[in-house]
Structure formats: C-alpha cells, structure tokens
C-alpha cells in the first residue's frame, strides 16, 4: 500500500509541500496560542464581571457567554470575521479614514479569542468559586487592594481548579483553527487541502496534517500535566484526601 505513496511530495522545498505544510502548522499554532491567551484574558475579566460586577456588568457577561456557547463556533467565526471587519471599516470611514486592511493573523486570533473567552469565563468563574472564601478574606484583612487580592491570592489559588477545564479549551483552540480555513486562512488545514487537491495525494497530506495536530496535542499534554502538578503542590493529592 505504501509503495503507491510518493513521500517526496513532503519535501521541504518545491515541488514538495513539506515547507508549506510546516508554515501552515506554525500559523495554526500562532492562531491557537494567540486566541487562547486572549480567551484567558477575556475569561478573567468575564468571571470577575460575573462574580464581582454590578448589575450591568453581570448582565453583559451573561449575554456574552450565553450567545457564545449557544451559537455554533463556525457561525460565530464567520460572523465575527465578516461583520467585525465590516463594522471596523465603516467605523474607520465614518471617522474619515480609508478602509483599514485587517491583518489576517490578528483577525483570526480575535475570532478564536472571542469564542474561547466565552468558555473560559465559565471555567474561571467556577474555579474562583472553588477557592475557600477565607483565603480571600485573609488577604483583605492584611490590607491588600482588590486588584492585589486578585493577583496575589485569587488567581493563583484558583489555577489548579481551572487547569482541567482550561486544558480542554486549549485542545479546542488548536482544533478550532481549522475552522478558519473556511474564511481562507492559510493555516494547516487550508494548506493541506491545497496540497492534496493539486497533487491528488489526499491520503498522504491529510494523514500528515492529522499527525501534526496529534503531535501538538501530545506535546501540550506533557506540558499541561507538569504545570498542573506544579499548581497543585499546595493542595491535598487525591489519593491522600480519602
């Protein structure tokens, strides 16, 4: 079976597609990482709004998470991308600027980040609620400002509770980058499709892409597990907690 596969198509230089594939892969990683980080930032803000915000902030955060989680991600992405860039252009023109060229990578990160943020808000909100309130009160009793309490106590204390959910979100972020192929991003899936259709070597290229995604996940798993072990140092291990 493998005799029929022309592995030279994976060569790094043209006419091989290996280099293009790796470039697409790198772009996927950038999109996923950028969107993930943005999702964490939105998640922390969203969770704070839900837990500590006034009525308006709480409602806004609620609408945001509900919409994000209810509408299919692909629809969200198309919506954010086309409507978002359109609005941005109109706003720019309204203010007397020429239409702006939206940077592809930034737009992609924004789109993934907005979707990730909806889920991250819920993960982080749950994790913060798992922190015993006394630990936060102790920080307040020492005279820490609310921001300092957040940074020095609440966030590090909630981290071990958030990691399982946030690890899941990272996996989803890496795979969601593939959805951006629909918008025409030259990330891994899009490049794979081009390579496959122009060489007719579908089997070879989609298998290679799958292997790259799998590799990313496996490497991520190792890193996340180490991070989780580190973050949980202060907690009772499950086998001790019996």
């Amino acid at each position: 079976m493998f005799q029929s596969i022309d592995f030279s198509l994976l060569a790094l230089d043209a006419p091989g597609w290996g280099g293009a594939l790796l470039q697409g892969f790198w772009r996927s990683i950038q999109l996923a990482a950028g969107g993930y980080v943005m999702g964490i930032v939105i998640g922390i803000l969203g969770a704070s709004a839900k837990l500590y915000g006034g009525l308006v902030m709480r409602d806004l955060a609620q609408v945001y998470t509900t919409v994000i989680r209810a509408v299919p991600e692909l629809v969200m992405m198309l919506l954010f991308y086309y409507v978002g860039t359109d609005l941005l252009n109109r706003a720019a023109q309204g203010m007397g600027f020429q239409g702006i060229e939206v940077d592809g990578l930034a737009a992609g990160i924004l789109v993934i980040g907005l979707v990730q943020g909806g889920y991250a808000t819920e993960v982080i909100r749950g994790a913060i609620r798992a922190v015993p309130h006394g630990q936060i009160e102790a920080a307040q009793a020492f005279g820490m400002s609310p921001l300092k309490v957040m940074r020095r106590v609440t966030l590090p204390a909630m981290t071990p509770h958030a990691i399982p959910g946030m690890a899941n979100l990272w996996m989803i972020a890496t795979k969601d980058t593939a959805l951006l192929a629909v918008i025409g991003f030259s990330e891994l899936t899009q490049v794979t499709r081009q390579a496959a259709s122009s060489t007719r070597a579908y089997f070879l290229f989609f298998l290679s892409a799958g292997a790259l995604y799998l590799m990313l996940t496996l490497v991520s798993n190792v890193i996340l597990r180490r991070y989780e072990a580190r973050a949980r140092r202060g907690l009772i291990a499950a086998h001790q907690a019996r």
Partner: protein, 256 residues
C-alpha cells in the same frame, strides 16, 4: 505608649436583613489590653470582631483604630459602607486577624505566607521580610517548617503559622476569631500557649473564644455578649468568680 485607645467602638449596630445581630455595642481597648469576648453561638461575637477590620460593615455606630475613625457613608438600604477604600486598607494593614480556619494561602509555602503582607502590602525589601519571617516562625516553633506548604502541617501548626503571618506585620492589635475551635483537642494547647506568650509580652488583643479557662487566664477584661448586647463586663475574676446576670451564670455553668 500612645494614650489614644487602640480600638474604640461606639454604639455599634449590625443588621443582616431583618436580623439585628449587634444592638449597640461599645468597647474600648487600650494598648496592652487583652479582651476576651465570650458568649453563646449567635450572640454576635464574631460579627463584632469582624467589624473592627471591616470584614463586616456595621449598620450604624462608629469604630476608630488608634484615633482614626472609619469614614462611612450610607447605602441605599439604610446601612453603612466604607466611604474610603484606601483608608480601610491602611487601617487593616495595622491590624492582624487570626481566623478559626487558619486561612493560610495553600499555593504558597509557610515562609511565603509570612512574607506576603510585609512585601506586598507594607513594601518591605524581600531580604528584610525573610529575616523577620524566620524570626517569627522560630517564635511560634515552626522554624523547621518554613519551606513546607501549609497542607503538610497539622492544624495546630497551621494556626501557629497563621499567627506568625500576623506577627510579621507587627500589628497594633491582634484579632483572634475562635482560634482553636477548628482544632483537634490535643492540638489546642500548643496554639493557646503561643497566644498566651503574646498576651504576656503586652500585645493588644481581642479574642473571641470558647476556651473559658484560657480567657480567665490571659485576659485582663472579659466581655459577655448576649443577643447582640454586652450583658456583663469586667475582670475575669468578677465575671467568672461572681457573675451577676442569670444568663451569664447559666452560660458559665454550661461551658465550664
């Protein structure tokens, strides 16, 4: 020492919804005072203590720490809230609170727990904070546990670490909220021993406790709180030796 009272509370009221927990409590602690607050559950003693550092906001009344009165403003529901968050933070930094459940930060080592407020609230240089932290940890007998995480410590050790954490900021007054109530009986003694030493060295403290023998031993003044009011107060000899109120007599009989 300063002639201003360390803590002065005037006509304090606290209401949770329809329930009035404190119904006009006044109390003054001078430097060096060790005041034990006793009373049944629901008498308002923990709430009173938590009002002193604004973990609870009083509904009415006035609290001053070393002559500085908390600036309060009315809320929409007819209660009060601090008008100046920075003032609250500044005053809190001068008070040290020891909680029933220790409330150490589990993600930091014992030493990091102790250096946290000196470095990140008082702005002390790290090296100086660490030297001081090791001193206070030795003081409470935990010098060898500095690098352990709190989860590795027994309850008694955790509470002693929490006391060290408070000592590190050298507070004007220490507030103890039932510091031994969450401990196994055999661990109570080591914690009370540390508190007793601190009382003897002249630290100002307010102590909410169920340990009557201990209150009698360390306090120079005892306050019996019942149903949100101070029903009786005086020296330990007066309160425990010759209680006047029938409720206090019954209370002492039931717990001693």
């Amino acid at each position: 020492m300063d002639d201003k009272p360390a803590i002065r509370i005037r006509d304090l009221h606290k209401r949770f919804g329809d329930l009035e927990v404190l119904k006009g409590v006044s109390l003054t602690a001078h430097p060096g005072d060790v005041i034990a607050i006793i009373g049944g559950s629901g008498s308002g003693k923990s709430t009173l203590l938590r009002c002193i550092n604004m973990l609870e906001h009083p509904s009415a009344g006035e609290i001053a720490i070393q002559g500085e009165t908390y600036r309060m403003r009315p809320t929409r529901d007819g209660s009060l809230e601090p008008a100046d968050r920075r003032q609250v933070q500044r005053i809190r930094a001068q008070l040290g609170m020891v909680f029933q459940n220790f409330n150490l930060w589990p993600h930091r080592t014992v030493l990091e727990n102790v250096t946290e407020a000196p470095i990140h609230v008082l702005g002390q240089p790290r090296a100086q904070a660490i030297v001081r932290a090791r001193q206070v940890l030795d003081r409470v007998g935990l010098g060898d546990k500095a690098d352990a995480h709190p989860v590795r410590l027994s309850g008694g050790q955790q509470q002693r670490a929490a006391i060290a954490r408070v000592l590190a900021v050298d507070p004007l007054a220490m507030l103890f909220d039932e510091p031994t109530s969450a401990l196994d009986p055999e661990l109570v003694g080591e914690v009370l021993g540390v508190i007793r030493d601190l009382a003897r060295e002249g630290r100002t403290m307010i102590l909410v406790t169920h340990e009557m023998a201990f209150a009698r031993d360390v306090a120079n003044r005892v306050i019996y709180l019942r149903d949100g009011r101070i029903e009786e107060e005086g020296t330990p000899e007066q309160l425990f030796g010759d209680p006047q109120s029938p409720h206090l007599k019954q209370f002492i009989r039931s717990v001693m």
